[in-house]
Structures are given as structure tokens and as C-alpha cells.
């Protein structure tokens, strides 16, 4: 069943969406079949392409919108939120 999910989350880690957190998000995103988009400041990145995630340039305190679409959309959304919250 194709579902969609979306959430806003504040990046609280000291260095924002740094290369390592970007890589971690991307590694998690590739495990899902759903399409996953991250948006910040009018820029959107495919969460499965690490270079695109890195280029969002999110600083500490920045807000990121996560949008997922596909069979495992909700699980993917929850997983990515958890990665950002626990990094």
C-alpha cells in the first residue's frame, strides 16, 4: 500500500547536519523502498543520495522537513527522525 508521511524536525547536534550525520541518514534511507526527501530553506535533497543531503547545509537548530512516500513510508520516517534525535 502506497502511503505518504511527513514531519518537521529540529537538528540539535552541535555541528548540524554534518557529513557524518548526512552519511548516516543516507545509509538508513537506502534500506527502505519508499522515496525519501529532505527539505531545508527551499532546498530539497534525495535522502538516498549522500552528496545531496550534505549539500543542504543545515546548521545546529535548523529545521528539516522529512517526506516519505511508499510502502514503508511511516517506518522510514520514524527511523530518520530517530537518527537525527539520537545523533
Amino acid at each position: 500500500m502506497n502511503t505518504q508521511a511527513s514531519a518537521y524536525i529540529t537538528v540539535t547536534s552541535k555541528d548540524g547536519l554534518d557529513p557524518e550525520l548526512s552519511a548516516l541518514l543516507s545509509m538508513q534511507a537506502t534500506q527502505f523502498t519508499s522515496a525519501i526527501k529532505l527539505s531545508h530553506d527551499n532546498r530539497t535533497a534525495n535522502a538516498k543520495a549522500v552528496v545531496e543531503v550534505m549539500s543542504l547545509g543545515v546548521h545546529s537548530g535548523g529545521i528539516v522537513q522529512i517526506r516519505t512516500s511508499g510502502e514503508d513510508a511511516q517506518t522510514a520516517l520514524n527511523t530518520l527522525i530517530a537518527v537525527i534525535q539520537h545523533y
Binding site: 557529513p19 557524518e20 548526512s22 552519511a23 543520495a49 549522500v50 552528496v51 549539500s55
Partner: protein
């Protein structure tokens, strides 16, 4: 592709191409300079007021007999005949022997670690010798001027300092030009030692009784524990014995044995007997028995020859200190330092500015603080005899566990030599407050530095492993995504090949690209002296765009990464030199309270990391193709 020669930097391979005579001559200069300059001060110190020995014919025969039989037992039997067989693929010296012993007990982790620490401490003691040998030999030679005229006495220390300054300032030019004269000069030196000895023995043949070992035994036995002070001085005749083992890799066993048997031992034995004969004939010569063996008109040439011999002896220990430091760096006990190669033909000839200046400060401080060879003699010997104790102990494990000799034989030989070593050490340790503390404090300080660096590095690697992203998962994820590939090769140098290099992440973030070929490269140093080009590289393809390459070196090799990477072609991985960028991570270590090391050690380690030498020069990377990125690591 450039042609890569096999074992180009291994002198053991070069040895086979040189004649035995040429090697023997070269060995005489480098290996025997130190032990060859001991006659400048040894006998004088044996009868110094502090030993309480009276200058009687019996004491002279007994002391010379002890020196002669110490040379026979410790140098000839122990080192020249036995220890030289304990080579680590052609190499000798404290670290090579330690590696050999550690490997022999590799299935006993605690024992292995203990032997490694013991060997490392033995290696650090060498630096104490590297400070005292130049100081005592040069000042001992220049003291000959006092025999020319007492007016020159106040100039002994300034002239010695000037000679040493010149010696250390010349180091940057290497020894390629003057090195070929070292052998012939030391041959002249030992010939002069022998000749002056013969001339005195002819006048007082009674000294030949020293050849009878019973005289040595009686001399040592009769005085009970009071003999230890004299033993501490007799040890001076043996200083430099470790060099013939340490330099084995450069010259080979046979030339070192040949030089000892045919020239060095006869020269030294005749000369010590000659000094004994002179003192039997004229006890007033005790003021400086070495120079009193020369007629007044020959004193100036004798001082010049002795100074040159002292400089050659000093050069040998200074070069030894460079070599030891390089080995310690490669084995992970010291941070990278600047290494200059001073010869285009011989890769073993190196100059290390940091080591040079530290030694210079130490040597000049020793000369200015102690002011005479007699005072310096108090500091000399402890490090030498302690190194002998360590060498004997380590050799036991090689003989027993690697050579599989019967326990009784190994134990008997070890107990015999260890007994002598401990006796000699006891003679030196009583000089602790007369300067003997100096090499010990230096050795212990360096030991603390080396163990801190080693522990700190393992903590950094552990932190990276713990906090880093798993490389395989990362590669799977990026290969699944869409990446803009550029047609070039990136080499990422990493300490831990299992995690994603920080430099790779930063490169992707800042340049938003992925290279077509990404090499995750680890440089590894094995506990063996040499690793040949045949075993240099291990290549594993992990995805369409990623390879893992492990380069392995021995602790005597000179790591040249671009040259080694050319060897990957035989495994189907072409790394074009001019289309390759090297990405390096420079870690900034942040000490944290309550870490795995004491706070002062963490601070020291952080400072060493900050000041460690450039990775570019160390690994011979082309400096116009290197991108260095900083990362912070908390330990």
C-alpha cells in the same frame, strides 16, 4: 608505469654485492669507533682515587687481566660469536632482537608484552649512550692537550664543545663524502693502539701475566664487595660492544667478526697491556696513561688522531640514534619526524634535524656540566650494562622458543652471561649519584614518551573505530544512490580500514563529487626489519568504485607510498600517478578528564600529535596532489 626494483632499500641485499675487504674496512670505522676510543680513559678511571685501588704491580696485572678477559668473554664470546647469530632477517640491535624475542613467544601475550616493554626500555637507554659517548670520547681525546702543556688545560672544555658543535652542524650534509675515510683512519688508530702497546710490553713483559685468567679471578675475589668501584670503571672498556650487534644489518656478520678478530681485539688487548706495563714502569703516568705512551714530540699528532677517532665514534652513535628513532617511529612508538635522506645511493643514510638538535643540547650540556672525562665516566656504564642485561634476557627467549635449544643449555648460557652482566651493572649502579642517574633519567623519560605515544595512538584508533561509520554499509548506500563521478582517483589514507574516512565525507560535502576510483589505504608496519616489494601490497575490490589497499613495511624500510601503489597494477588496479589525489586526515586530539590515560599523558600525547612531522614528506607523497583535512578526536 615506472619500474619498481625489489628490496632497493634493504642494505642486507646490497651487502652481497660488496667485497668482504671493503665491508670489513667500512665496519671497522662505524662499528668499532666507540669501543676503540675507550683506552683514552678506562685504565685511568680504574685507578682513580674513588676506586681505592693502589697502583701495585699485582693490581695492575689483575686489572688488565680483568679488562682482557672481559673483552674475551663479553665481546668475543657473547657478542661476536653468540649474539651475532640472533639476527632478525639479517638485522641486529635492540629493536630487532625485541621483535625476534616477542615473535618467539607470540602465543604468550603477557610475556610478549613484557618482552616488548623491556626491549623498548633497552632501546631508550641507547639515547643516553648517544649523549655520553660523544661527550666522553671527544673530551678524553682533547684532554691530551694537557699533556702537551698544562697551559692548555683551561681550553680543553671550549675546544671539546667547538669540535662537537662542528660535528653536529655537519650532520645535515651526511657522511657520504667523509665516510669512506672512517675505515682507514680507524685502521690507523687500532694499529697505533697495538704498536704503542707492544713498545711498552717489550719494556715490562711481566704484564703478560694478565693473559692468565686466574689473575683476573684473584683480583676480583680478594677485595670482596669493594671491587665494585673498579668494576664500574672496567666496564668502560666494553662500552660500544652493543654497536657490533646493532650495526650487523649494515655490514653483515662475517665482516664484523673478521674486523674484531684480526684488528680490533689484538689492537685493544695489546694497548691495555701496554698501559699496564707503562704504569708498572712509571706510576706517575696515571695522570693520563694513554697519552703518556707517546713521546712528547708525538703528542700533538696523537691528540689529533684521538680527536678524529672520537669524532668517528661519535658519528657512529649519532647515526645510530637517527636509525633507532626512525625504527621507533615506524613501530608506532614515536610521532613522525622530519627525515632527510643524505645520500642518493644509500637509503639508510639519513639525517633527522630534531634528533640532531636534541642530542647536541644533551652532549654540550654533559660536557659543560661534567667538564672532564673522569667526571663523565661516572655517568657512563649504567646504560651500557643495563642494555647488556636486557640483551641477554631477550636472547634467552630467542634461543629457547625460536631455536628450540634444550632448556638446560639455554638456561646455563643465560645464567652464565646474566651473572656477568649483573655483576658489571652492580659496579656501575654505585655510581648512580656521581652522574649515573643521567642516562637512566633520560632513558626513563623517553620510555614514558614512547609508551604514551603508543597508547595514545591505540586510543585514537579505537575511538575512530567506535565512533566511525561502517565502511561496507556506507559504500552499499552510496553505490545505490546517484552520484556525480569524476574521472580521477582518490586515495584515502586511514588508520582504521573498517570505518568511513572523515576525509571522504568532507570531500563529498565540499566538492559534491565522488571519484571514479576510491582507494581506502592503510599503511601497516610489521615487527620485522624488512618487508620486500613482493609482499608490499594487498588489494581487495569492495565495490565498483572502491578498493581497499594495505601497504606493509618493515621497521627498517623507507615508506614510499606512490611507489608502492604502482605495485597494485599486478592486481588489476591501475593508480595513475598524475591523476591521483591523496586525502589525508589530520587528527586534533582533545584530552578529556577521566579518559583511559592519565591526564598528563593525554596532554603530552595531544602536544606530540600537534607537533608531529608532516605525513606528506614521511610517505613521499607528491605535495601538489595532497588534500589534508582536520578532524577532532576525543580520548
Amino acid at each position: 608505469m615506472s619500474e619498481v626494483s625489489t628490496d632497493a632499500d634493504n642494505p642486507s641485499a646490497q651487502i652481497k654485492r660488496q667485497s668482504a675487504t671493503a665491508l670489513t674496512l667500512a665496519a671497522i670505522g662505524v662499528v668499532y669507533g666507540d669501543i676503540g676510543t675507550s683506552p683514552l680513559y678506562t685504565v685511568k678511571e680504574v685507578f682513580a682515587p674513588s676506586t681505592g685501588l693502589v697502583l701495585t704491580p699485582e693490581n695492575l696485572i689483575g686489572a688488565v687481566s680483568t679488562i682482557f678477559w672481559a673483552l674475551m668473554l663479553i665481546v668475543t664470546l657473547k657478542y661476536v660469536i653468540l649474539i651475532l647469530r640472533a639476527d632478525n632477517r639479517g638485522e641486529g640491535g635492540a629493536l630487532a632482537l625485541t621483535a625476534l624475542a616477542a615473535n618467539a613467544v607470540k602465543d604468550k601475550p603477557f610475556l610478549r608484552q613484557s618482552l616488548l616493554m623491556m626491549g623498548l626500555f633497552g632501546a631508550t637507554l641507547f639515547y643516553g649512550d648517544s649523549v655520553i659517548t660523544p661527550a666522553i670520547s671527544v673530551i678524553g681525546a682533547v684532554e691530551g692537550l694537557e699533556m702537551v702543556t698544562p697551559v692548555l688545560t683551561p681550553y680543553v672544555v671550549p675546544i671539546s664543545v667547538a669540535v662537537l658543535l662542528l660535528l653536529f652542524l655537519m650532520q645535515r650534509f651526511g657522511t657520504q663524502l667523509v665516510g669512506k675515510f672512517f675505515g682507514p683512519i680507524i685502521v690507523v688508530w687500532f694499529s697505533v693502539l697495538g704498536l704503542t702497546g707492544i713498545l711498552e710490553i717489550i719494556q715490562q713483559p711481566a704484564i703478560l701475566q694478565a693473559l692468565n685468567p686466574l689473575n683476573a679471578a684473584v683480583f676480583l675475589w680478594d677485595r670482596g664487595p669493594f671491587i665494585l668501584a673498579a668494576v664500574g670503571a672496567i666496564v668502560l672498556a666494553l662500552t660500544g660492544a652493543e654497536a657490533l650487534y646493532a650495526d650487523m644489518g649494515h655490514f653483515g656478520r662475517k665482516p664484523i667478526q673478521m674486523a674484531w678478530m684480526t684488528l680490533v681485539l689484538p689492537g685493544l688487548a695489546l694497548h691495555y697491556m701496554g698501559q699496564g706495563a707503562l704504569l708498572m714502569r712509571d706510576p706517575s703516568a696515571i695522570e693520563n696513561p694513554f697519552f703518556r705512551m707517546f713521546p712528547q714530540s708525538w703528542l700533538i699528532p696523537a691528540v689529533v688522531l684521538a680527536t678524529v677517532a672520537a669524532v668517528i665514534a661519535s658519528q657512529a652513535v649519532i647515526s645510530g640514534a637517527y636509525s633507532m628513532t626512525k625504527q621507533a617511529i615506524l613501530l608506532g612508538f614515536l610521532p613522525r619526524m622530519d627525515i632527510k635522506y643524505t645520500s642518493e645511493n644509500e637509503v639508510g643514510q639519513i639525517y633527522m634535524p630534531a634528533v640532531n638538535w636534541i642530542l647536541l643540547v644533551g652532549v654540550v650540556a654533559a660536557v659543560l656540566a661534567f667538564k672532564s672525562s673522569s667526571a663523565l665516566a661516572g655517568a657512563y656504564g649504567i646504560a651500557v650494562t643495563l642494555t647488556m642485561v636486557i640483551t641477554t634476557t631477550l636472547t634467552f627467549f630467542v634461543v629457547r622458543d625460536a631455536w628450540k635449544l634444550p632448556l638446560v643449555v639455554a638456561l646455563a648460557a643465560t645464567v652464565f652471561f646474566l651473572g656477568i652482566d649483573v655483576f658489571l651493572f652492580a659496579g656501575c649502579i654505585i655510581k648512580f649519584f656521581d652522574g649515573g642517574w643521567f642516562p637512566l633519567v633520560m632513558g626513563l623519560s623517553l620510555f614514558a614518551v614512547m609508551t604514551t605515544w603508543s597508547k595514545g595512538r591505540s586510543l585514537v584508533i579505537e575511538t575512530i573505530r567506535r565512533d566511525g561509520l561502517d565502511l561496507q554499509s556506507f559504500i552499499r548506500s552510496i553505490e545505490a544512490g546517484h552520484n556525480h563521478l569524476i574521472q580521477r582517483t582518490a586515495v584515502y589514507a586511514v588508520a582504521n580500514p573498517e570505518t568511513v574516512p572523515q576525509a571522504l565525507l568532507h570531500n563529498m560535502k565540499h566538492n559534491q563529487v565522488l571519484h571514479e576510483k576510491n582507494i581506502i589505504m592503510t599503511v601497516k608496519f610489521d615487527e620485522v626489519p624488512w618487508v620486500s616489494d613482493k609482499h608490499r601490497v594487498k588489494v581487495e575490490k569492495i565495490s565498483a568504485h572502491f578498493w581497499q589497499v594495505v601497504l606493509t613495511y618493515g621497521f627498517m624500510n623507507t615508506p614510499d607510498v606512490p611507489k608502492a601503489l604502482l605495485l597494485c597494477q599486478q592486481f588489476g588496479l591501475d593508480i595513475p600517478t598524475f591523476e591521483t589525489t591523496y586525502f589525508l586526515s589530520r587528527e586534533t586530539v582533545v584530552p578529556t578528564p577521566g579518559g583511559d590515560m592519565a591526564q598528563w599523558r593525554e596532554i603530552m600525547f595531544a602536544a606530540m600529535t600537534r607537533n608531529s612531522g608532516g605525513i606528506v614528506e614521511f610517505f613521499h607523497l607528491p605535495d601538489n596532489s595532497v588534500v589534508e583535512l582536520g578532524t577532532r578526536v576525543q580520548i
